[in-house]
């Protein structure tokens, strides 16, 4: 594997492949920074707290069946419904492997969704964050 240009990533939301409507994708894997500094050390001591993983995706909006809006809207958390769903991202098409690892979570949740955003004349893009209610895992070998 060498340096590469990102253009063939696979993005699956609730098992629907929306890759061809994705302009940007970011995988955030981080834990809260808990300060456990004490007297006498002269430095900050850090411990990892609760994880707060997420996938951030910029979609080109598409209202067709099985495309962006039709997939995302039913997943939006409401007062009556808190659906969770799998989210998976790979750098390339193909089975997960050491050079094509899959980053996924089984319990993504969608708390915020703007079906339309943008200025007149602009391409219709929507930025969406999928929080992972479980940690994002890296699978280099596939299921």
């Amino acid at each position: 594997m060498s340096k590469y240009i990102i253009k063939d990533a696979v993005i699956s939301i609730n098992s629907v492949d929306l890759s061809d409507r994705v302009a940007e994708v970011t995988i955030n894997m981080n834990a809260d920074d808990v300060d456990v500094s004490t007297m006498g050390t002269g430095v900050h001591e850090h411990l990892g707290g609760l994880r707060n993983d997420s996938f951030v995706v910029k979609f080109l909006q598409d209202f067709a069946a099985a495309k962006v809006d039709a997939t995302l809207f039913p997943l939006l958390a409401t007062a009556d419904s808190q659906p969770t769903f799998p989210v998976a991202v790979q750098p390339f098409v193909g089975s997960p492997s050491a050079t094509n690892p899959e980053y996924s979570c089984a319990e993504g949740i969608l708390l915020d969704y703007q079906p339309m955003q943008g200025a007149v004349g602009a391409r219709s893009e929507v930025d969406v964050t999928f929080f992972a209610n479980d940690s994002i895992v890296r699978d280099p070998t596939g299921p």
Binding site: K7, D8, A9, S19, D20, R21, V22, V25, L60, R123
Partner: protein
């Protein structure tokens, strides 16, 4: 898919009524010696590949040109004034956008701008003609 072989005639189909009303000849390709009044699909000015993953989209830009008359002809300039309108039956923008999927062969299109009144020097006889160029943004998949 961005297939110019089918996009050129489809754009001209959108412009057919306007061309008939304004007495414009049509050409799907750039002419060596355009004789006004003429409308031609001048070609691609820019292609931005891979706006989404897995060849999901490209943004393509096409120039449509109109030559209305020799520069000294005031009548031609008046005709061009009407064609530069943003809407109405004489508007090139409105005509091009009359079917924004070109019968389903593209995802979407929009006339983003016109260069306004332009003088062109014809190759060959070096005569000056007046006209304009419209840039059409065409969104395609794969």
């Amino acid at each position: 898919m961005f297939d110019l072989d089918v996009i050129r005639p489809a754009l001209l189909a959108n412009l057919a009524d306007l061309c008939e009303e304004q007495g414009l000849q049509q050409s799907p390709y750039m002419l060596a010696l355009p004789t006004p009044p003429t409308l031609q699909i001048a070609g691609v000015t820019e292609i931005n590949y891979d706006i989404t993953m897995q060849r999901g989209g490209d943004a393509n830009f096409i120039a449509v040109q109109v030559f209305v008359s020799m520069v000294a002809d005031v009548g031609g300039q008046m005709k061009l004034d009407k064609m530069l309108k943003s809407s109405g039956s004489t508007s090139v923008k409105e005509a091009i956008e009359s079917d924004t999927t070109l019968g389903g062969i593209i995802d979407d299109l929009r006339v983003t701008r016109s260069m306004g009144h332009q003088q062109f020097q014809r190759p060959g006889d070096n005569d000056l003609v007046i006209g304009s160029t419209w840039i059409v943004q065409i969104e395609t998949t794969g």
